[in-house]
């Protein structure tokens, strides 16, 4: 289905509002293809269309939601009736309300690449099979492939509301990803690699394969290390995961609920002065860039930390109203099933001047962290307490030394922000809402033996 058809459905739902009702309708459609290769053959090939509608109703300050995975008339009517009924059971909230048009025009981003729509199925299959083959051939120690996938999606969404917001858009995405196994009798390691884009032509298969092989083999022979306090150097991939967490604490939702250690601290120094962080939502180079947010407002750049000083939070219409400010275009909607929350699109740290090698040499003695595990179980976003499983390489005399695995690194996020000692120049994009770069943080506890 195209954006115009979806917009018509959204408009029709909104036109059924009764006096005093605010209605927002989101209609989404996607066509997805997924190919998994194994041992040179197609393990599975999935092809499917899906569609859904989500309705948010606010009546007398009370909110109700309803969604459906079908778009026929009967389902839409039932969905609307359910949203209306649900709203009658909410608590009255003077701040409840939909987003209002704020006059900010969305930037024109080209998120839809027509070439994907016409892409050849055989070529998609070839990519998955070739990815597997390149990883297997990448190193003699690679002994298996857990998954080698090609996936793409053509998506369209439309939103309409009784406050006068009407917005539809379409987007394409492609993904190549592989999980590989390496090792010998003694030792097994795993590694992944991926490449993303908006059409097949954007994909860098060799890069994805190399990454997976590198990640696998660099940990072979790694062992547990003794516990100590040291400087950690985070790989961009690890940094991006930490930044996602910090962004969670800077969301208006956490702040107005008293669940953020950064609530009420705008203007205070919360990080090292070298650190500047913002949501660069419309950066066209990012796979997660967006022109409009989950409530149909224009996405924009949101300053968060300026030279170590907290400059503000991300807000959707509701959290902004509670906080007495304006939406920053940061409404995030996981799908048509969910109410809009608050979240970033493209979190970034202002890059520094040093390459990863220069940072490693400058740190001299430390731990280069390649990967972390258990981030969500190991971090309390309320208190900021943090401990995560980690693996990587010990840094000695400014050089990479022995591999380390099965250790944890621990601190609090607040302390880590303050203890940043070097910021890399190697800005890296990922297919999730945070970028990364090499980041060195002093005085972190590594727990091992």
């Amino acid at each position: 289905m195209n954006p115009e058809e979806l917009q018509q459905i959204a408009d029709r739902i909104v036109s059924m509002a009764e006096p005093g009702e605010q209605i927002e309708a989101v209609v989404a459609w996607s066509r997805d293809t997924e190919v998994r290769a194994f041992e040179g053959e197609v393990e599975h090939f999935v092809s499917a269309d899906s569609a859904g509608v989500g309705i948010r109703m606010i009546s007398q300050g009370k909110q109700g939601l309803s969604w459906a995975g079908v778009l026929d008339d009967a389902a839409l009517k039932e969905c609307l009736a359910e949203a209306r009924d649900n709203a009658s059971f909410g608590s009255e909230d003077p701040n409840a309300g939909l987003a209002e048009p704020d006059g900010v025009e969305p930037e024109e981003l080209s998120l839809f690449d027509e070439r994907l729509v016409h892409a050849d199925t055989e070529e998609k299959i070839r990519l998955a099979i070739e990815l597997e083959a390149q990883v297997r051939a990448g190193d003699p120690r690679i002994f298996g492939i857990e998954s080698a996938d090609y996936a793409d999606s053509v998506m369209a969404t439309a939103l309409a509301s009784t406050t006068g917001i009407r917005r539809s858009s379409a987007e394409t995405s492609v993904y190549l990803g592989v999980y590989a196994l390496a090792g010998d009798e003694e030792d097994t390691t795993t590694g992944f690699g991926f490449s993303v884009g908006r059409a097949l032509q954007d994909l860098d298969l060799a890069f994805a394969a190399q990454e997976a092989v590198q990640r696998c083999v660099r940990l072979l022979g790694a062992t547990k290390a003794p516990s100590e306090r040291l400087t950690v150097v985070l790989h961009p991939y690890v940094t991006s995961q930490f930044l996602s967490l910090i962004a969670e604490m800077l969301s208006g939702e956490s702040v107005i609920r008293g669940r953020s250690p950064f609530a009420g601290r705008v203007g205070e120094e919360i990080a090292a002065p070298s650190l500047t962080m913002f949501d660069d939502a419309t950066d066209p180079l990012s796979p997660t860039a967006s022109d409009t947010d989950g409530e149909g407002l224009a996405c924009r750049r949101v300053p968060l930390i300026d030279a170590g000083v907290l400059s503000g939070y991300m807000h959707n219409a509701y959290t902004a109203r509670v906080a007495g400010t304006n939406s920053t275009g940061s409404a995030q909607r996981g799908s048509h099933r969910a109410a809009p929350g608050v979240g970033p699109h493209v979190i970034k740290l202002m890059p520094g001047d040093l390459s990863a090698e220069e940072i490693i040499s400058q740190v001299g003695d430390g731990f280069l962290v390649h990967d972390i595990a258990g981030l969500h179980s190991g971090v309390n976003p309320v208190s900021g307490d943090l401990s995560v499983g980690a693996d990587g390489v010990r840094i000695r005399g400014g050089e990479l030394a022995e591999g380390i695995r099965e250790v944890t690194i621990g601190s609090t996020l607040q302390r880590m922000l303050g203890d940043v000692v070097a910021i890399g120049s190697d800005l890296t994009y990922f297919p999730w809402e945070s970028t990364g770069l090499t980041l060195a943080i002093a005085d972190v506890t590594m727990s091992g033996q």
Partner: protein
């Protein structure tokens, strides 16, 4: 949901290009939830999904398509897409006779959640909010969630299987934030069972609220967790997730088949301390991971995976079992009709032993007592795992002493299994869980008695 003659025609279309196996999985699911935050009922949500997924297997390749159009024309279109995706190159097969699967329902639902007035669900949330806040002025924020779902499935395939199931689940969870001089701490508690609204005849939301609030308050006084390898005692019910992560995933036949499991090729070997008997049981009445038939139409089973420390069997879905010429173990599950089934756990637990919990504790000179573990993850190929300790205490001179702040626990599955040197007689099931694998989430249960892991676990604390 679908006429038998329609099913036969759709299966015939799916197999029309030649297929070793074709299957139709139809699903209708209604869910509702209500959320309380900051003293207010933020919203009620209801949702409805319905559709069918069609799978066609040709040799080693699977083609899959799904549709939300359950008309015969819609289903046949999806069947043709799946058939072409599987790239079969033969000709059609005959229409199969379907045999209804007779599987006992693991639970009876007394009160369908859909029949309960919404006002009653809202009342539970408001009550929980009050009860949690009444635990002390330190409680500064409370959020709570009520959710129910009603899922009807139908599975039919060219082996002649025709099965249906009706799965009802009800859940309540609460989270309390306590604030003090040391900052903020969170306490959580949840209960979820494959039953209807009668859940609340057995469980008082007030008790859940008090537990969550007390957990948060206790942690205000907690000290940073120590770091390093130490003896760990895990309390009843609260640590089942460790066995789900540390060994359950490694016993899934799809991962074993790809060499992505440390347990591959080890059937019949001693893989754990002789005190360990590990079971995965989809028949456990009312538990979060139970069902009558799995999402491939196979009746739920109780499967012993490790018996007295010896690896007895892996868990199987239809595809992997077929390749091995054996029967599925009833572990073929999927998130929805939009997903392919794969090997998944149901309710995974460690059987109780003979020691009393007191004996185990008093026999532990020093270490950490974990009464509640949070989420975790495992690398099945290496067995390395990590998960969060949401409620933990120091053990000093055989006694539980000070509470500890949150931290992660890391270890290696096979290593931990061999280091278990005491198993208690106080088995309990833990809270409801959602297991994620390859992008799909399914409801699972777990359970453990008190047990001690003598070595091999590293506490990742922040204390120097």
């Amino acid at each position: 949901m679908l006429e038998e003659s329609t099913i036969q025609r759709v299966l015939a279309a799916a197999a029309s290009r030649g297929a070793d196996f074709a299957e139709i999985f139809a699903e209708e699911k209604r869910s509702s939830s209500a959320l309380l935050d900051d003293g207010r009922i933020e919203e009620l949500t209801s949702g409805r999904d319905r559709g069918a997924g069609i799978r066609v297997v040709v040799g080693e390749s699977t083609g899959f398509a799904h549709t939300s159009d359950l008309s015969e024309a819609g289903l046949i279109a999806a069947a043709e897409t799946a058939a072409s995706a599987a790239r079969g190159s033969g000709t059609g097969t005959t229409i199969v006779d379907l045999d209804r699967v007779n599987a006992p329902r693991p639970n009876l639902v007394r009160i369908m959640p859909g029949d309960v007035p919404k006002a009653k669900k809202v009342e539970l949330l408001l009550m929980a909010n009050e009860m949690a806040r009444a635990e002390g002025a330190a409680i500064t924020q409370v959020s709570a969630r009520y959710a129910d779902s009603h899922r009807r499935i139908l599975v039919a395939n060219t082996d002649g299987t025709l099965g249906t199931d009706e799965q009802v689940k009800t859940l309540f969870s609460i989270s309390a934030v306590a604030s003090g001089d040391t900052g903020m701490q969170t306490g959580r508690e949840s209960i979820g069972r494959s039953v209807g609204f009668e859940l609340f005849d057995t469980y008082e939301v007030g008790d859940l609220a008090r537990t969550a609030a007390q957990r948060a308050i206790t942690k205000l006084a907690a000290r940073p967790a120590p770091s390093g390898e130490m003896t760990v005692v895990i309390g009843p019910g609260g640590g089942g997730v460790m066995f789900h992560e540390a060994c359950g995933h490694g016993l899934e036949a799809d991962l074993v088949g790809k060499g992505a499991s440390v347990f591959a090729g080890r059937l019949g070997e001693q893989v754990a301390s002789s005190l360990v008997t590990l079971v995965d049981d989809g028949t456990m009445g009312g538990e979060w991971g139970c069902f009558a038939i799995d999402d491939e139409g196979r009746p739920a089973q109780r499967n012993v995976l490790i018996q007295d420390g010896i690896l007895v069997d892996y868990m199987w879905d239809g595809l992997r079992a077929r390749a091995e010429g054996r029967a599925s173990s009833g572990n073929g599950r999927r998130q929805s009709y939009q997903h392919l089934p794969m090997v998944r756990m149901t309710n995974t637990y460690l059987l109780g032993g003979t020691s009393t919990p007191d004996q185990i504790l008093s026999d532990t000179e020093s270490g950490v007592y974990i009464s509640h573990l949070g989420g975790g993850q495992v690398n099945t190929a290496t067995g390395d795992f990590v998960f969060g300790m949401t409620e933990a205490y120091l053990i000093e001179d055989g006694r539980i002493t000070e509470p500890l702040r949150e931290g992660n626990l890391i270890g290696n599955g096979p290593g931990v299994l061999t280091s278990i040197d005491a198993v208690g007689n106080d088995f309990a099931m833990g809270g409801p869980g959602t297991c994620g694998k390859d992008g799909q989430g399914v409801p699972v249960g777990d359970g453990v008695p008190t047990l001690r892991v003598a070595s091999g676990l590293t506490i990742g604390g922040t204390a120097a």
